[in-house]
């Protein structure tokens, strides 16, 4: 936590808000959700460090199993007199709604801090708008909107003071990402100021109202028609006083800090005619634009709504100048089917009532519009468009701005060339990789400038949605005055490209101002680099007279012993070229920051970094650009011409960063997108890729099995196919006796390879020969990829090996099956995706997948391209994500449909029997579908049926035709992570499993919430650290396997493919074959474990070897046959837990931060492992009768 005395600091909106919230509360009950997670994490971190609130005690912070749980806990803590808060967003707020009605109904003071975010509708979005808070506007909570990082800080305190005085609970919200994640320089509240805003008498009142056995009363009664209604009306007076209380608190705040606020605030001249009403981060953009336009004679102004509920009608009306002619109300939300969006409706009603009462002389013209959904940019150009609309004779109502709505024709036309006067700002854009430290260095630069100079600084960071090879764009502004520009930079003074290959794909210089500086990290020197630039880049450099500078940062890093770390080097270049600070001062500050960072690592590390900084300047060169372009090459084409139309026209634009230009008409109306699009996005994220060595390969299939991105494929085929194979196409005689004419080929899709090296690690052909070469190795990707593409094309044309041809009960056999999950955006070396891929290889053609929100729904379903795909027959997994909490129920629903429609189909078959063949009907109804050959036969019968039904008249035939596909057995899988299965979805999962229905559950257990940054779940093991278990988890991991086994009729397996891939295949097949519920817990190594991901599979092996992760299978079928259903597949532990655990930072970090605790916890964890092993071992030795009998 920052020192109290610091006056001006740079921080983001989340930190700004939680700093105050933490200071003025005693209990925080939370659940992580983007983009609010950081608030909860800060609170937890501070609590773990014993940082105190303003009353000198350390707030209690607890992570719950869901937001519903968090809200319940908040309610309980409030009712017993604690000052309590929570932090949430989006679906999280939705889960809190029931409790919010209760909390408000009971007039309980609290503030929920919300980083406002979109709701999942046609698709999920993690980004910002007001849909969530608008959905909560009926709860009785007050709604207070902050428009900037400074306001998020200040309003957190004003809200707290107001709730205590008014007893009305508040949602204090600010725009997700745009404010929650924007770093800005703000004036910091001192403890003294915070203290003075909070009246202890009101705190005592709150405690006095609490449940207390020493003066008992009852609250939360059930009420009847006689009194409920009146009871609901008792609170009106409290709501009526809120605006005046808020104003009073704002005045006190002004007296303490000098910063002025109002429930409704007007920006503009007293004679303004056209006014925008808006709340949230858009206020600054609108107000700055209105002021800019007013300078040029326009009569434009802005009304900012800070207090939205209770709606301050009087303040609102009096905020408008009497000259007001027309008003545009901007809502950052969508209410389909409503007569207008909520703020618009409030404004209309308020003005109508005011006009009726004679408060205003006449109704101004009022129109409403939507903007900025899901963090869609909201720029001065759009504000101008809104004002221009008001100028029209008949302004468009219910308009949209910022999109092209060519269907409803709602959108306003925008002159995107319009900009405010940006001459006071230095604007810089940085294009980097997620893993190259660019964002970290930029945050550091902001701190250096913001906290050590009088300059103001702003930073906003944009990430793409892939987890491997993710691109980041940092937007930094520096200025002498506060920066009120919550939108991206489109006219940069400085652009840095930290990865050379970006320049070949990304039109980054279109954002450059004329005469801007372009810094390029280039492996090509000052003489050569020009020739390496694509033609459009050369052209734009010449057109805009851009100054080009190059540095080979990797080389400087290498020479100065920085082990490939380029961020400090590039940061130094920025300071050298941008002139934001005098060079010597900048270097001194960078070095100060290095000293602080590496203080504990010794002088030599510090000196190395210093040296890198010094060397940077010597290796930074300006390129003398020729007067004409010389390159022939265009930019790298993104999408193949062979891609389907939708991919070429729509997906391509998203990939190219032009998704904002896609019109409404081009998008699906209901969120239904084509599958299998990831294959068209050749991301080429790794310069090192897998290369197969046919001569020494034993064709075991291990590499293909574990490949997280399905880039290693195997086929066998007749040798004659090689006759027209392209040059260099690799193959080998198949490693099986009796097939002299059969060849084997392993193809690497090298443009999709992430270079994770798992294939090398798992290859059994080892270095006994003395060489380190294995049958698959990583090597530099060849420069020209055409030849490689040709080989891949040829490989794809080879006949796909059919399931009946292969023994896919083995790892060796599985390699020949086509994966129907490929090239996902998962992390390089992901431990989850190999399980999904194998699942699709085994049953992909008849899979129905319900996918819980989390990593797997992001790499599985985040646009622009998605990995779930189809086979050549057009069959493949049908995938959907509902929510986080409901995935088990969602999947169960899929099963119910399959079962219900199958039974209807059977019924219809019988009805239509006379018109169909008896044998066909019998076989369609009764033929077994256990073996792949049987499934194939059933598919043929279904085809026959469809053909026959086409010739039969009548509704029954039509009904049966619509249901005929259900006659092929559907494999329903519920997939999700441990956050879902152990926590938020636990109740639903338990119920779905207990239903006895044939649902298969695959839990990809990474033992933390991986997608949101590693928060603890109930799967987090003892002695590991995680967020909300910073000092190490003290309780044991829930034994979900035993819990499921206790039902008796659930197939349960625990697998770890790195330890025993064969057992993984066996478990997946047994689970699928079992006609009842099944649960597979799959050990999934993860970046959240703090491991070298290359060693992920080895960690799986060690997890099993130490007994931490026993491999088990519990098969109820065995119990039915009077056998012991519990099989322990792994051998006795041969190593200690610590020999596995201390390879992982999640365990090891505790040995540094809390060494004594770490030791104790490790002992405890070992005891737990020993005990669990003993239990399992005993179970494996029991007779059948020791287990629950099944029906």
């Amino acid at each position: 936590m920052r020192p109290d005395k610091q006056k001006a600091v740079t921080l983001d909106g989340n930190e700004a808000a939680v700093y105050v919230a933490y200071r003025v509360n005693e209990v925080c009950a939370i659940y992580p959700i983007t983009p609010s997670s950081a608030m909860a994490e800060f609170a937890d971190e501070w609590s773990a460090k014993d940082i105190k609130n303003i009353w000198g005690n350390v707030p209690e912070v607890i992570e719950m199993q869901s937001e519903a749980g968090a809200a319940g806990t908040v309610h309980g803590a409030l009712q017993t007199g604690s000052l309590t808060t929570t932090f949430t967003a989006s679906q999280g707020l939705m889960l809190m709604l029931p409790n919010m009605y209760k909390i408000a109904g009971e007039l309980t003071p609290t503030v929920f801090h919300v980083a406002a975010r979109s709701l999942a509708a046609q698709g999920l979005s993690i980004f910002g708008d007001h849909q969530d808070v608008m959905a909560a506007r009926t709860t009785g909570f007050g709604l207070l909107a902050s428009a900037s990082v400074q306001e998020a800080h200040d309003m957190a305190l004003i809200a707290q003071a107001t709730t205590l005085r008014s007893r009305i609970p508040f949602i204090h919200f600010f725009d997700g990402f745009r404010t929650s994640h924007e770093v800005n320089k703000i004036d910091f509240l001192s403890d003294q100021q915070i203290r003075e805003m909070i009246d202890d008498e009101l705190v005592f009142d709150h405690r006095n109202r609490a449940l207390n056995p020493d003066k008992p009363f009852i609250r939360g009664t059930a009420q009847n028609p006689d009194v409920y209604f009146q009871g609901r009306e008792t609170v009106n007076a409290f709501y009526a006083t809120v605006p005046s209380i808020l104003k009073r608190e704002m005045e006190r705040f002004r007296d303490l800090t000098g910063r002025e606020y109002a429930p409704v605030r007007y920006y503009g001249a007293p004679d303004t005619e056209r006014i925008i009403v808006i709340m949230g981060s858009g206020v600054e953009t609108a107000a700055e634009t209105a002021a800019f336009l007013a300078q040029n004679g326009d009569k434009t102004g802005v009304v900012q709504i800070t207090l939205y509920r209770p709606f301050p009608a009087d303040d609102f009306i009096s905020a408008f100048p009497s000259t007001t002619k027309s008003i545009a109300v901007l809502d950052r939300t969508k209410e389909p089917g409503a007569s207008g969006e909520p703020l618009y409706q409030d404004v209309m009603v308020t003005f109508a009532e005011a006009a009726a009462k004679g408060q205003v002389r006449s109704m101004p013209q009022i129109v409403g519009g939507r903007y900025g959904l899901s963090s869609k940019e909201f720029t001065p150009a759009m504000v101008k468009a809104v004002f221009d609309n008001l100028n029209a004779e008949t302004p468009k109502n219910h308009f949209t701005v910022g999109i092209i709505d060519d269907v409803g024709l709602t959108s306003l036309s925008v002159d995107y060339g319009f900009r405010l006067d940006e001459s006071d700002w230095t604007q810089a854009l940085f294009f980097g990789l997620g893993a190259d430290g660019t964002v970290g260095a930029n945050k550091n630069s902001i701190k250096i400038i913001g906290e050590n100079t009088d300059l103001f600084a702003q930073g906003y960071f944009v990430y793409d949605s892939k987890k491997s090879g993710a691109k980041t764009v940092s937007h930094l502004r520096f200025a002498k005055n506060p920066i009120k520009a919550p939108y991206l930079i489109t006219s940069a003074d400085f652009i840095a490209c930290h990865q050379f290959n970006f320049v070949e794909k990304e039109e980054m210089l279109k954002w450059a101002k004329p005469g801007a500086t372009f810094l390029l990290n280039s492996p090509y020197g000052v003489e050569e680099v020009w020739e390496r630039l694509p033609l459009p880049v050369q052209q734009i450099i010449l057109d805009k007279k851009i100054r080009l500078f190059v540095i080979d940062a990797a080389d400087v890093a290498r020479k100065t012993g920085m082990a490939g770390r380029i961020n400090t080097i590039m940061q130094t270049c920025f300071f050298a070229l941008s002139g934001v600070l005098p060079m010597a001062e900048a270097i001194a500050e960078i070095k100060k920051s290095i000293e602080k960072t590496y203080f504990k690592r010794g002088l030599s590390v510090i000196e190395k970094n210093f040296n890198a900084v010094d060397q940077t300047l010597e290796n930074l060169f300006e390129v003398k650009t020729p007067t004409k372009t010389t390159a022939k090459e265009r930019m790298t084409s993104i999408i193949s011409d062979e891609a389907p139309e939708f991919v070429r026209s729509v997906t391509q634009m998203m990939i190219a960063g032009r998704g904002d230009d896609i019109p409404v008409s081009a998008l699906p109306v209901d969120g239904t997108y084509p599958n299998g699009t990831s294959k068209w996005e050749k991301r080429n994220v790794s310069s090192r890729v897998a290369v197969w060595e046919p001569d020494i390969c034993i064709q075991c299939g291990n590499c293909s099995f574990v490949c997280p991105h399905s880039v290693i494929r195997a086929k066998f085929f007749h040798k004659d196919y090689l006759d027209d194979a392209p040059e260099g196409f690799k193959s080998a005689p198949i490693n099986a006796r009796g097939f002299p004419e059969t060849k084997y080929s392993l193809q690497v899709y090298l443009e999709d390879c992430t270079g994770c090296n798992l294939c090398y690690e798992v290859c059994p052909v080892d270095e006994r020969t003395g060489a380190k070469r294995r049958a698959i190795n990583l090597a530099e990707k060849p420069e020209g990829l055409e030849a490689e593409r040709e080989k891949i094309g040829y490989f794809e044309k080879l006949p796909q090996n059919e399931k009946p041809e292969v023994d896919f009960s083995t790892v060796h056999g599985v390699q020949f099956l086509e994966p129907l999950f490929e090239f996902s955006g998962a992390c390089a070396g992901c431990g989850e995706t190999p399980y999904i891929k194998v699942l699709t290889q085994l049953f992909g053609d008849r899979l129905l997948v319900a996918n819980a929100t989390g990593c797997s729904s992001i790499y599985g379903g985040n646009l622009p391209t998605t990995p779930w795909t189809s086979n050549s027959a057009g069959q493949g997994p049908a995938w959907s994500n509902s929510l986080f909490e409901d995935n088990a129920e969602f999947g169960l629903g899929m099963r119910l449909t399959a079962d219900k429609q199958l039974s209807t189909a059977h019924q219809l078959l019988n009805i239509l029997r006379p018109q169909l063949d008896d044998q066909l009907v019998d076989e369609l109804t009764n033929a077994p579908q256990h073996l792949e050959s049987e499934i194939k036969a059933q598919r043929e019968r279904v085809n026959q049926l469809k053909e026959r039904l086409g010739q039969i008249d009548g509704q029954d035939a039509k009904h049966l035709l619509s249901l005929a596909d259900q006659l092929v057995h559907r494999s329903v899988w519920l997939i999700g992570g441990d956050g879902w299965a152990y926590d938020i979805g636990s109740g639903g999962l338990d119920h779905a499993l207990a239903s006895g229905r044939n649902v298969n559950v695959l839990v990809l257990d990474t033992e933390v919430y991986s997608n949101t940054g590693g928060q603890m779940s109930k799967a987090t093991p003892t002695a590991a650290s995680a967020k909300f278990a910073a000092a190490g988890k003290r309780v044991g991991k829930k034994d979900l396997a035993l819990q499921a086994i206790s039902y008796g009729n659930i197939y349960v397996a625990q697998v770890a493919m790195g330890a025993n891939p064969q057992q993984t295949v066996l478990a997946l097949r047994e689970a699928e074959a079992y006609d009842g519920p099944s649960l597979i817990l799959a050990y999934s190594h993860c970046i959240a474990h703090g491991i070298d991901m290359e060693k992920g599979l080895n960690q799986q092996k060690l997890a099993v070897a130490c007994g931490y992760w026993p491999l088990i299978r519990y098969n109820p079928v065995l119990r039915k046959n009077d056998q012991n259903p519990f099989v322990l597949d792994s051998p006795k532990p041969v190593i200690r837990l610590k020999d596995y655990a201390y390879n992982e930072l999640r365990y090891k970090v505790l040995t540094q931060t809390v060494p004594k605790e770490a030791e104790k916890l490790m002992r405890l964890a070992q005891e737990i492992v020993d005990l669990r092993w003993k239990t399992y071992e005993e179970m494996a030795g029991f007779g059948a009768s020791s287990f629950q009998p099944i029906f």
Partner: protein, 339 residues
């Protein structure tokens, strides 16, 4: 009361028993206990360059690849600035040990690369270590290497470190040089202030079923003192360096022998690992008893009195002594055993 103090490479020690490098010193409370028990100095556990590099690289790679990489997860782990990783941990222990103890703290460095030796040596000096013991763990498995090549490798390392730090340097030697005496002189010439005799290289074993090499680590035994004893007795007074005897000190008897041979200090680790840190007290009490009995007023009074330089029959350490031993064991009796 006899004076147990001694001088080791210029450092004033209150007793001649020094704790040699071992894992116990990873914890500050153990170092404090060693001081309380009377240890003259503590040689910290070894800083292994490759281990540090590996750990640092992994941590940095993990941190960098998981921080600020995604819109949903800004980080996964606490900032490494908040805790010490790699050599930072080691340096922190030196700093803390120096703050909390009054006895010399000697760091132990096991390097690999030239940069590793010098960088870590400088960091160690800067962190406040009183001296540095360098542990050149080098098995000349390359059969083309000559003895001169191997010797040069050692002296180069010492020279390199000498030129980058000012604190005393001790070299933990191994006994496999063709001429231990000459090598000692070379090391001194290169800048070594002390020699620690001897390094026990771990000698691996095989698992004959799994066909893998097994690491094999055993505690030293009192019987193993003979080889260092011989060489300390031979080198005492001949090479102008401090001598430390390590290996086999399980009681005062072995320590006394080493001191008689000419060691400035005796070092013990195995005994402490087996019997606990307070064992130091017992050894020193027995040493004091011995000195009272003899009587010796100070360590200097008897140090080196059994060295080759001072015994009446210097050949006892040479070939003649060997022949005598063989003669006496002809009939199955060991030299010195009761007839």
């Amino acid at each position: 009361m006899p004076n147990l103090s001694t001088t080791y490479m210029g450092l004033k020690l209150r007793s001649p028993l020094v704790v040699s490098a071992n894992p116990l010193s990873q914890k500050l409370e153990n170092i404090l206990a060693m001081e309380d028990a009377g240890a003259g100095a503590v040689v910290l556990f070894s800083l292994f360059e490759e281990q540090i590099r590996q750990e640092t690289a992994t941590t940095e790679q993990v941190y960098q690849s998981t921080t600020n990489t995604s819109a949903e997860a800004s980080d996964f782990f606490p900032d490494p600035v908040d805790y010490a990783i790699g050599s930072g941990k080691y340096l922190e222990i030196i700093r803390h040990a120096k703050e909390r103890t009054d006895i010399p703290i000697i760091a132990s460095l096991n390097g690999v690369t030239p940069e590793g030796w010098t960088d870590y040596a400088r960091d160690i000096e800067q962190a406040g270590a009183d001296a540095l013991e360098i542990n050149v763990y080098f098995i000349p498995a390359d059969v083309s290497l000559t003895s001169a090549d191997v010797e040069k490798r050692y002296t180069d390392i010492v020279k390199m470190i000498r030129s980058s730090i000012k604190i005393p340097i001790a070299v933990k030697m191994n006994p496999y040089f063709s001429s231990v005496g000459n090598m000692s002189q070379q090391l001194h010439a290169a800048g070594a202030d002390a020699l620690v005799l001897f390094n026990r290289f771990y000698q691996p074993d095989f698992d004959i079923n799994e066909l893998v090499v097994l690491p094999n680590r055993e505690f030293s035994a009192p019987a193993e003192i003979r080889l260092p004893l011989l060489w300390i007795a031979v080198l005492f007074g001949r090479v102008p360096v401090s001598l430390a005897a390590t290996t086999g000190i399980h009681g005062a008897r072995e320590l006394i022998k080493y001191l008689l041979a000419g060691a400035d200090v005796g070092m013990s680790a195995s005994a402490l690992l087996q019997h606990g840190i307070p064992w130091i007290k017992d050894i020193l009490a027995d040493l004091e008893l011995y000195m009272r009995d003899m009587p010796f007023k100070s360590i200097d009074e008897f140090k080196g009195s059994m060295s080759q330089l001072h015994i009446p029959d210097p050949t006892a350490y040479e070939r003649n002594n060997y022949i005598q031993i063989l003669e006496n064991t002809k009939w199955g009796r060991q030299a010195g055993s009761r007839q």
